[in-house]
């Protein structure tokens, strides 16, 4: 029973961070801030869900292959997602997408103008 409580708390933590990321994606003021909020889903949300599901698969289902597959899915999402995030952010900046409000400091735009 204590194990079920631990599993539910871990998945609940993942759900809370996923909710935070979703709210950020809907409400943040500009494109780059929305990307920052979506990183929340890709890291803590996935880690919480994967840890909970891993404990469930090992101790309640007793299935080793499911546990290893869950660990591999979490590792894949966590190691590969920054590449896509980086590509989409760089592409958006090069395509001329800027926030409505001027940014506090913009080193990349200044260096691009000097080239």
């Amino acid at each position: 029973m204590a194990l079920r409580i631990v599993i539910d708390v871990l998945i609940g933590i993942g759900l809370v961070f996923a909710l935070a990321g979703t709210k950020g994606i809907l409400k943040m003021p500009d494109t780059f801030c929305r990307m920052q909020a979506s990183t929340c889903i890709n890291t803590m949300g996935v880690i919480g869900v994967a840890l909970g599901a891993l404990l469930y698969a090992i101790f309640i289902m007793g299935s080793t292959s499911a546990a290893i597959k869950i660990a591999v899915i979490a590792l894949l999402i966590i190691t590969i997602n920054p590449i896509g995030s980086h590509a989409i952010a760089k592409g958006a900046y090069r395509a001329g997408i800027r926030p409505d409000k001027p940014m506090e400091i913009d080193d990349l735009g200044r260096d691009l103008e000097n080239e």
Binding site: V16, F17, A20, G21, K23, G24, K27, M28, P29, D30, F32, C33, M35, Q36, A37, T39, C40, N42, T43, M44, S65, I68, K69, V72, I78, T79, N81, P82, I83, S85, H86, A89, K90, Y93, P99, M103, E104, I105, D106, D107, L108, G109, D111
Partner: protein, 172 residues
Amino acid sequence: MQKTRFPAVLSTFVLCFAFWVLLTWSFEIQELAAGAVVSLAAALFASRFFIQEKAFRLVHPRRFFSLLVYVFVFLGELLKANLDVARRCFGGCKDVNPGIVKVPVDLPDGYAEAMLANSITLTPGTITLDIAEEDGKDYYYIHWIDVAETDRVKAGEIIKGRMEKWIGRIWK
């Protein structure tokens, strides 16, 4: 175009075969033989794109121990940054002050720089946009959700934290 070398083929083969066993999860001799043939073909064709330098670099006690310590250092940073961004999201999304800062980086080779850039991107609140070289030093352009410091070196200390030191130990 790089030539195909034996250590690169061997390490790509081990990775592909591990993935095959993982997906099928049956240990009959026929399935394992089919997996070995497919993995060998994939390794022969793809290893020169996949591994450019020394293939078994991480099989070394000091580097492997540094990698294990780095995972925990990184998880700590991740948890802190996640709590910060989640607080901003639940607090109405008005508490942001975005900007792009240019941060110097001092690491031995390209793999280490790519690893640090991916770690920074994975931390909520910072995204690496580009890497540029100026006067023999490398710089990251980092989009930061809350610019607390506009000076380059101090901003770099805040963003990179302890991650740069441990990545330098892994790839030394």
